[in-house]
């Protein structure tokens, strides 16, 4: 039992429990907070695997910025609104669970096949560099164009939100 095993088991169980309760909770605010829990658990997973930069991004961008947006919209649309529990299409829930089981089986089938390389190695940063420096080197050399293009994506998203959220003042 290495320390990684113990941390992995505890955090993985926490992530699964939080994800399940997130789907099952009728209250949207509870769901949002549980999703923050899942994301923190996944950040610990990234730390375990040596991806320190991604772990920091996960906490700052996902658990910080994106979830604040979610909570803000939940607040804006009203928290007290409960979801109607009567399902109009009677077979939808069993069908959804069946399809989910099928998806999981497919995932395991692919994982068990020889498509995946079997090589297992500990994560090592490039010699003399930490994880952040190594990621930055790849990001700003090999993927520099894609990195610049993300700014276009974000700018387009900002313009789109402006258009969508603008109240029509004429009517």
């Amino acid at each position: 039992m290495t320390i990684e095993t113990i941390v992995f088991v505890v955090v993985a169980l926490g992530a699964l429990a939080a994800a399940l309760t997130m789907v099952l909770s009728p209250n949207a605010v509870h769901s949002a907070l549980l999703l923050v829990g899942v994301q923190v658990c996944l950040a610990i997973m990234f730390l375990l695997q040596g991806a320190f930069f991604i772990a920091a991004l996960q906490v700052i961008v996902y658990a910080g910025a994106i979830m604040v947006l979610f909570v803000f919209v939940v607040m804006l649309l009203g928290v007290d609104r409960k979801e109607a529990l009567i399902e109009p299409i009677s077979f939808q829930r069993p069908l959804a669970i069946g399809l989910g089981a099928l998806l999981l089986a497919e995932g395991f089938l692919i994982g068990a096949s020889e498509l995946l390389p079997r090589a297992v190695a500990a994560n090592r940063a490039v010699a003399g560099e930490g994880n952040v420096e190594a990621v930055a080197r790849v990001l700003f050399t090999k993927w520099a164009f894609a990195f610049e293009f993300t700014s276009v994506t974000l700018a387009v998203a900002i313009v789109g939100v402006m258009v969508l959220a603008k109240r029509d003042t004429n009517s």
Binding site: T5, M22, L57, E83, L99, A157
Partner: protein
């Protein structure tokens, strides 16, 4: 007993399935959206695990791009939800039936 990449991939598959089932089962659009975020997170875990298996860094760069797209997607999606809410006064997916015949 050591943790191999298979454990991480299994966890990731389970989280992805929970997210997918959540999108199909829930009808509150905000919670459906959170389930999509959960699926994106599960994929990020897969990418980091593959990175570790291949001793590379490209997967972590991909995670960075997934984060950027997720941020843009959340902003636009929540704006759409708010504008639907203005028209329908409801966050229920069944209320969005304009294209239904």
């Amino acid at each position: 007993m050591t943790v191999g990449p298979g454990w991480y991939l299994t966890l990731s598959a389970l989280l992805f399935t929970i997210g997918a089932v959540g999108v199909l089962v829930r009808r509150n659009v905000i919670v459906m959206f959170m389930c999509i975020e959960l699926m994106l997170n599960a994929v990020n875990l897969t990418l980091v695990t593959f990175d570790r298996m291949n001793l590379g860094l490209d997967g972590q760069v991909s995670v960075f791009f997934v984060l950027v797209v997720a941020a843009a997607e959340v902003v636009v999606g929540l704006a759409i939800i708010v504008s639907i809410f203005r028209k329908r006064a409801s966050a229920d997916a069944d209320q969005v039936n304009l294209l239904k015949w």
